[in-house]
Amino acid sequence: MPNLSRFRDLLYQLILRDLKSRYKQTFFGALWVFGRPLVELGAYILVFGAFLHAPSDGVPYPLFAFSGVVLWSFVSGGISRGSRSVMSEGGLVAHAPFPKATLPLAAIVGALIDSLLAAVMLALLMLVQHVAPSPETWLLVPVFIVLGILVTGIVLISSALNVFYRDVSQLVDVGVRVWLLLTPVAYAKSVVPAQFKTLYDLNPLVGVFDLSRAALLGTGSIDLSVLWYPLVVGLVLLAIGAWVFRAVEPYFAESV
């Protein structure tokens, strides 16, 4: 399969380029990767922790919020970088024959790497706070896989459509912001009033975030079956995304 190995080689080089250029082009380089989630975390601690006293399922609020931020940075980073990935390489897309799906995938992997670096900081924070990771921490692996499927599905659709309708990336940005508020990133699910519960649970990320906190910090009982719903939603989106991307890829070169 020379095509598959070509795809893999190209994907690897694109990821490497994004990583290296991020480290080299800014004055603080890699510091930004750590700085951004820390700034976000600071704001959450102030607003949700100090002002609003948001419930945090019995763990110190900074830990609670940061575990959410780590997961969320993958979702939001992957979606917003991925959606623009094809357009922002317009010159290449118009002039070089290569499998275009490498562009959104490289962007998603880039966001994953950022998120994993933030996870390293989370581990340090846990160490400082004397919180031992629960033995179920390995469950974060299936959690990231499910998130990856969801994000990839969305990004394949949005990055392809963004080539034809520039509004799509704006729409996606608004959507991501709203999604953040509707996801238990900065607050625990327990604040949601009972009558909104069913509606709230329609958000496929709710179960994923709940489970990952339970697995890492021991905030509740472990119920693996909550992964089914986001997994099915993700697979459906992935199937649609793959179909859309393949269908419109031949028209990228004339539309960027």
Binding site: D9, Q13, L16, G91, L92, P97, Y165, E254
Partner: protein
């Protein structure tokens, strides 16, 4: 390893780029407002075959569909109708070094650009030194590309491409830039590809390159096939299209004719017979007579004459370079003549541009009459290639036998 293009049509949608336009298009348009065209045909029923191991050229004006054709062959675009079959591993050279990221070093960039062109990491690692040697950038291998000049980046881009081993190679005007020495090396590399049996399709404006390199040429005009055959025949057809377009242009007087102290009334060519396009032989002479009228009192003005073929100016000079200046009173008529003997031009169609300079030191003309006269040069037989025919004689000085 050949290419078969059968009945290819390609339509571009000139479509809306935002949801706003999609929404406004849903509302029925009021009558009176002219509807914008929704699409255009970039290729119309194009068919041709590129024989294995042959070199094929796509020629034509900008917007004729050459690049679209190339992208359809490369599989980057889908033909609206028709089919393209390519046998063999394909590479497209276009936008050399397009993936380069300024903050990354030459070495780092080679790996990404190479991966885009379809070279594996192992191949690239093995060829890295050869690539930098070809580009003559060995000293800059670990320097960020943002410190490269555009020529250096281009050289590196071509060097990567030169180390591909394609069976079918598509080249999109890769020679548009670069200095002479580098172009020679590119040409050498392409001749090597040709010798190795690579099937090549070349999009180019350069007649000399195409005539030297290609077995067959296809002329496209507004997406349609106009000529398909030997490069010389295709270029002859191309010249005819250019002439027809120019004839439509009407007045070719550029600059500020109103401010010019001299009016060019007519330009007359002698030595080639009558008609709008007299015919000359390269070893005879051509006299161009420029009839002028002074609109005001003139002192120290001069005129310039250029001989051009397509967009190449082959020769240009000003009368004051031989000490001839024009001094006249308003209303007087002047005739200047310039003689070319021998004419020393190759077979083809030519145009004469005439310019007026206000004074000896004027750097640019106050007006230019483009294509004030046209003529044709016909050679009884071809005796070489190139844009000019230099007077020359061959002699055998030593035949290798011992004396």
């Amino acid at each position: 390893m050949g290419i078969t293009v059968s009945g290819v049509w390609k339509r571009y949608r000139l479509r809306s780029r935002s949801l706003k336009e999609v929404l406004t298009n849903l509302v029925p348009r009021r009558s009176g407002a002219p509807a914008r065209p929704k699409s255009m045909w970039a290729l119309e029923d194009v068919s041709f075959t590129v024989q294995p191991s042959s070199t094929f050229a796509l020629i034509g004006a900008n917007g004729s569909g050459k690049s679209t054709m190339l992208k359809v062959i490369a599989g980057m675009m889908k033909a609206t109708r028709g089919a393209v079959r390519v046998n063999g591993r394909l590479s497209l050279l276009s936008f050399l070094g397009g993936s380069f990221h300024g903050d990354l070093t030459g070495r780092e960039n080679v790996f990404l650009e190479g991966a885009l062109l379809g070279l594996s990491r192992t191949e690239l690692r093995a060829k890295l030194d050869a690539i930098f040697a070809f580009a003559e950038l060995e000293r800059f291998i670990d320097v960020p590309v943002k410190f490269y000049s555009s020529g250096m980046a281009l050289r590196l881009g071509f060097a990567i491409a030169a180390h591909l081993e394609p069976e079918v190679l598509l080249i999109d005007e890769a020679f548009a830039v670069g200095d002479t020495a580098f172009r020679d090396r590119c040409l050498g590399r392409m001749l090597a590809f040709k010798a190795a049996g690579t099937t090549m399709v070349l999009v180019s404006h350069e007649r000399y390159l195409v005539e030297q390199l290609c077995d067959t040429a296809l002329l496209l005009d507004h997406g349609r096939v106009v000529a398909l055959g030997k490069p010389q025949e295709a270029f002859t057809a191309y010249e005819r299209i250019i002439e027809a377009d120019e004839a439509d242009d009407g007045d070719d007087r550029e600059g500020e004719p109103a401010r010019s102290p001299l009016e060019i009334e007519s330009v007359e060519l002698e030595g080639g017979g009558d008609g709008p396009e007299p015919v000359f032989k390269p070893d005879t002479g051509l006299v161009a007579k420029v009839h002028l009228r002074a609109k005001t009192d003139v002192a120290g003005a001069s005129i310039g004459v250029q001989i051009a073929r397509e967009w190449h100016v082959l020769h240009g000079t000003r009368s004051n370079r031989q000490g001839l200046e024009i001094t006249a009173r308003a209303g007087e008529r002047i005739t200047m003549a310039i003689e070319y003997r021998p004419l020393s031009l190759a077979h083809g169609s030519y145009a004469i541009h005439v310019a007026v300079y206000e004074h000896r030191l004027a750097v640019s003309p106050v007006m230019v009459w483009k294509r004030a006269a046209k003529f044709r040069v016909i050679l009884p037989e071809t005796e070489g290639v190139g844009l000019v025919r230099l007077t020359h004689n061959w002699r055998l000085l030593s035949d290798g036998r011992p004396r």
